[in-house]
Amino acid sequence: MRSKYLLRFLALGYLALLLGIPVALVFWNAFQDGIGAAWAAVTTPEAQHAFYLTFVMVIVAVPLNTIFGVLAALAIVRQRFRGRALLNALVDLPFAVSPVVVGLALLLVYGRRDGWLGQWFADQGVQIIFSTPGMILATMFVSLPFVVRETIPVLREIGTEQEQAAATLGAGPFQTFFRVTLPAIRWGVAYGVVLTTARALGEFGAVSVVSGKLSGQTETATLYVENRFQRFDETGAYAAAVVLALLALVTLLAMNVIKPKEAQA
């Protein structure tokens, strides 16, 4: 009996120290000068632009990574081809590589002056580094693995019999995918989407390297928080951090609100 409580105490205490108390302090600091001051801090033009840019990152990176993720999972689970193991391993690369390295790698490829493809893009009049496209690329890279990783196990679990049954009933490959496979794996995909969204919202390192940090131009919400903090605008930094935390929280809650329907089915 005692060991049971000890276990709970350890788990909860660990979480509280690591997560609960620091996050609570962020909230506390944000509202130190009152709600009005916090509201004013997150509605400045720079702050609004930063949140807008973060929104752009999410709205581009999440759908693209979701489509790629489901297709990659299908290829890895359902097909046998040379390089399948390589694909499976490469998908995990963003987990293993530090975001700063990702940012530097993007500089090497797309950098204007000595980037591998940068000159060509520059000639076409497209600026990638120190601009939104580069930041989107960085965000996509770091949030790539989640949908793949969450989809693979559910895809394995459902097996191929339902798809074969659909085929014998007259369904072509697209109908089978949209009517049978996708509904069967939807919770795995949805969870992957939630994690991808949370990661895209919170990405700092890789985006920081390729953004150039031009306030009001290439500054996402996380970069804005850092900027405010460095300028000793504590209320501004903490208030923006609170908004980011709330957005992440809403994303996770949305998942838990829609999911229980499955259990009743």
């Binding site: 339902q162 085929a167 009933l169 007259g170 369904a171 069967a184 089915a265």
Partner: protein, 329 residues
């Protein structure tokens, strides 16, 4: 519709699943593919459905070459051992699946189905659910059904599209003994009602004999024999078929059905001396275990009436004689 399989071979790596198999399945018949696991019977069924592509040979359904056709264009009904129910759909939606697909092919997938079509589908689903005794379960999910109910739903789903042939892969294999017996009898009656050419796979000889009109015995990727249950039992083509479709016993180095041996109390021409080791009373059947003069063990199946009449007791010396039944050449 008839099915004609012409010299079909199929390999999985080094393993030969089907080795030059040819078979005719008559229109409207009820055929069992019987054999041990790994014998090739499931592979043959999947080749007919288009779920496996043969390495060589051809399959035609209703006189039409289907070898190159994908499963969705063969118009076959397929029932899987583990039901393959669409878990996210209700029973009604499962059964309606094939009909909905036909009403809304790919490019119209997002379009709304016309009301008259919806009503038509609903009426057909109701009719099918009655046929499989699942009326009243239309709005349940597969997870709320028992194994037997799920398999009946899978059958209704397969029948909904009025397939040219109905294929069942070990359809009762995952069910418990009582339900299995019930469903066998029910499948037989269903076939009498619906008359669709039906092929089912089983490793259970009793199931094959009870349900099928024609049995195909498959072993090591080859067809050993095709015949009615009676032909297979009484005129097995070889030792393997004989052993697979019924009990066997040995007498004078030959295989024989244990009920095709007479027990005599006196020596006789062509009869062998044996000593009774045990007499097992299994109700109507009595099983007598014996040791022959040369030390070989054998057994004989007889009836309670005969055993009582002969007053067989353990340790007694008797004479055994084949009672004229045919044995494989």
């Amino acid at each position: 519709m008839s099915i004609v399989i012409d010299s079909v071979s199929k390999h999985f790596g080094d393993f030969t699943a089907l080795d030059d198999v040819s078979l005719d399945v008559r229109d409207g018949s009820l055929t069992a593919l019987l054999g041990p696991s790994g014998g090739g019977k499931s592979t043959l069924l999947r080749v007919i459905a288009g779920l496996e592509t043969p390495d060589s040979g051809s399959v035609s359904i209703a006189g039409e070459d289907a070898t190159e056709k994908p499963p969705q264009r063969r118009n076959v009904g397929f029932v899987f051992q583990h039901y393959a129910a669409f878990k996210h759909m209700t029973v009604a939606k499962n059964v309606a699946f094939g009909l909905t697909i036909r009403k809304r092919p790919g490019w119209r997938m997002l379009a709304r189905t016309a009301r008259s079509e919806v009503e038509e589908i609903e009426a057909r689903v109701d009719e099918l659910l009655k046929l499989v005794h699942l009326d009243g379960f239309a709005h349940r999910y597969p997870s709320q059904l028992s194994g037997g109910q799920r398999q009946r739903m899978a059958l209704a789903r397969a029948l909904a599209v009025q397939p040219r042939v109905l294929l069942l892969d070990e359809p009762f294999g995952a069910l418990d003994a009582t339900v299995r017996k019930e469903l066998r009898a029910w499948l037989r009656r269903l076939h009498d009602e619906v008359h669709v050419t039906t092929v089912f796979v089983t490793h259970d000889q009793e199931e094959a004999m009870e349900v099928a009109e024609q049995i195909v015995v498959l072993n090591n990727g080859k067809i050993e024999q095709v015949g009615s249950p009676q032909e297979l039992y009484e005129q097995p083509a070889n030792e393997f078929v004989m052993g697979f479709v019924g009990p066997i016993s040995e007498l004078s180095g030959r295989s024989i059905r244990p009920h095709d041996v007479d027990i005599l109390l006196e020596p006789h021409d062509g009869a062998q001396e044996a000593m009774i080791d045990r007499v097992l009373h299994l109700g109507f059947e009595v099983r007598v275990e014996l040791t022959l003069g040369d030390g070989e063990k054998t057994w004989v199946q007889t009836t309670k009436g005969q055993a009582d009449e002969l007053e067989l007791t353990e340790g007694e010396i008797v004479w055994l004689r084949p009672n004229g039944a045919r044995v494989p050449a």
